[in-house]
């Protein structure tokens, strides 16, 4: 259960005009602009849901995920994930959490994938038996058998992403954050990853929060969509409701683009 109430987060960004003169000027007086990344963000996600968290670039998606992961702390507002405040109780909170940041890697670059997995096993103190079960299940579902002994740097993007997802689930987290997990993947890998996420949710009741720009991901996976723009929650509903709002016979992709335009984001 995730409860976020009235969360605000502002970044201070340094700005200056182009050119040498302005560069020198900025040495003495710096101009900052306050960028509100999240404004009065409030939502509740019950256990076992797959939620699509969508919005244009810079809308505040990653900020939300980082707040929920305990990496960032907000300026104001409260947040409880299964009774813990993520940034206050970071270590206890993240023990029950699996994260995949699609644009980064959590695998050790130069060593075989299985070594990274064993490191994670010890970091999360996964009992040996449970580790074996999970590893076996993940290897089957994500088709990892041939990849485990390969160093991460030798894997293709699709292969690596499957390993990344497996490494986020070795400790049976109750909650899974996927930040653009299908970015850059080919059709086959995308389908495989989607199928797996559904399976994981069905079998283990894992709550999944998915941020993505791929509306087919959303169509295939999410029973509920949170649409945000400029740091505000604009819409909370099912994909069917989003399509209904846009009217006509638009695909989810077109409906979302239409909504972006309509909300001016």
């Amino acid at each position: 259960m995730i409860e976020m109430k009235g969360v605000n987060k502002t970044y201070r960004v340094r700005r200056r005009e182009a050119g040498l003169g302005n560069a020198v000027k900025s040495l003495f007086s710096r101009a900052y602009t306050e960028i509100p990344a999240l404004r009065d963000m409030t939502f509740t996600i019950p256990d076992g849901q797959i939620v699509g968290y969508i919005g244009p670039n810079g809308a505040g998606k990653s900020t939300t995920v980082k707040l929920l992961s305990g990496i960032l702390r907000p300026d104001s507002g409260t947040c409880l994930v299964d009774g813990l405040v993520p940034w206050e109780d970071r270590k206890r909170h993240v023990a029950r959490l699996g994260v995949v940041f699609g644009q980064r890697s959590q695998l050790w670059w130069d060593v075989p994938v299985i070594d990274s997995f064993e490191l994670l096993r010890d970091i999360y103190r996964v009992p040996e038996e449970r580790y074996r079960e999970n590893l076996h299940r993940l290897t089957e579902l994500l088709d990892l058998a041939d990849l485990l002994k390969t160093p991460a740097r030798m894997l293709s993007l699709g292969q690596r992403m499957r390993c990344e997802i497996a490494s986020a689930l070795l400790h049976s987290p109750r909650l899974l954050f996927l930040d653009e997990p299908t970015i850059g993947l080919d059709a086959v890998s995308k389908l495989k990853v989607r199928e797996f996420i559904l399976e994981q949710n069905r079998q283990c009741g894992t709550t999944v929060i998915l941020t993505t720009h791929d509306m087919q991901d959303v169509d295939a996976l999410c029973s509920r969509v949170l649409l945000i723009g400029k740091g505000r929650l604009l819409l909370d509903g099912s994909t069917a409701e989003i399509r209904a709002m846009a009217g006509e016979n638009l695909s989810t992709e077109e409906s979302v683009a239409d909504l972006y335009r309509r909300f001016g984001i």
Binding site: V94, V111, L119
Partner: protein, 267 residues
């Protein structure tokens, strides 16, 4: 505790696989050591009376310095860690149920050990083949050898803690390069990397021995050569303990402060 050990192990194994780098380092260090020995030998022949330490102690210093270079060379910064802060990849480390500083310290120790271990033994063997008095000989008494080992561990801790201090600073600065360059220059002079500290003028030597840089290679290398003995030896090891504690405490505090105001860059 087990997770820190596994972390140590994986970093050690990851480091041990760079054979070409080890081989290249090995030959460089042997040539460098030979060159230094030749220079000091020439100077010794001219003015033996002006040497603050005997040729045997000096040879031990030089060969051990070359053998363990990767253990304590400050310019071998923890690049992975600094880059992870600069690019924001550190976000992943923060989603682990571990203390970030502890994780970093273990990684830094393992990285240095893996680089150092591959090279140390061959250089020591080669150094031992050089004829007396310019070859490597074991000169400490058994009792002193214990202190040497303790001091070597402390040196490693001081070097890693200093290095992590710079990593933690990366949270507060756009780029820590300036701090790194100044630190390396200071460590070269005040740490006894260019010339052993006894060769420095009295005042500068006393000052250098008090700095954190003086608590790095200077102590174990001189203990091994038998140049540092008695009360002075215990005082130097005491200072190592002091600096290890201070640097760890400051680095830890800087990291905590950095994490409180962190904004993870990019995506």
């Amino acid at each position: 505790m087990k997770k820190y050990l596994t972390f140590f192990r994986i970093r050690l194994l990851a480091g041990l696989q760079y054979r070409a780098a080890a081989l290249a380092g090995l030959s460089t260090q042997f040539v460098w050591g030979t060159m230094e020995v030749l220079i000091y030998r020439a100077l010794w022949r001219e003015h033996p009376e002006r040497f603050p330490m005997g040729p045997e102690a000096l040879a031990a210093y030089i060969w051990l310095q070359q053998a363990f270079l990767s253990l304590f060379a400050l310019w071998n910064w923890e690049r992975e860690l600094i880059d992870s802060v600069k690019t924001g990849a550190v976000a992943y480390e923060l989603t682990r149920p571990m203390d970030l500083y502890g994780m970093w310290l273990v990684r830094a120790l393992a990285a240095r050990l893996s680089r150092g271990l591959l090279r140390a033994a061959p250089v020591m063997v080669l150094g031992a083949l050089i004829p007396a008095p310019w070859g490597l000989r074991l000169r400490v008494a058994p009792a002193g050898f214990g202190l040497f080992l303790v001091s070597t561990c402390l040196m490693l801790l001081v070097v890693c803690a200093y290095s992590l201090l710079v990593c933690a600073l990366t949270f507060h600065l756009t780029d820590p390069n300036g701090v790194m360059v100044v630190s390396v220059a200071a460590a070269d002079l005040l740490g006894g990397a260019i010339v052993p500290l006894p060769f420095l003028p009295e005042g500068l030597r006393k000052f250098a021995e008090l700095t954190p840089f003086g608590a790095m290679q200077n102590v174990p290398l001189r203990l091994f050569g038998g140049d540092l003995t008695g009360a002075a030896a215990y005082r130097a090891v005491g200072l190592q303990v002091f600096w290890a504690a201070v640097l760890i405490a400051v680095g830890y505090a800087l990291l905590r402060a950095g994490l409180r105001r962190v904004s993870v860059a990019g995506g």
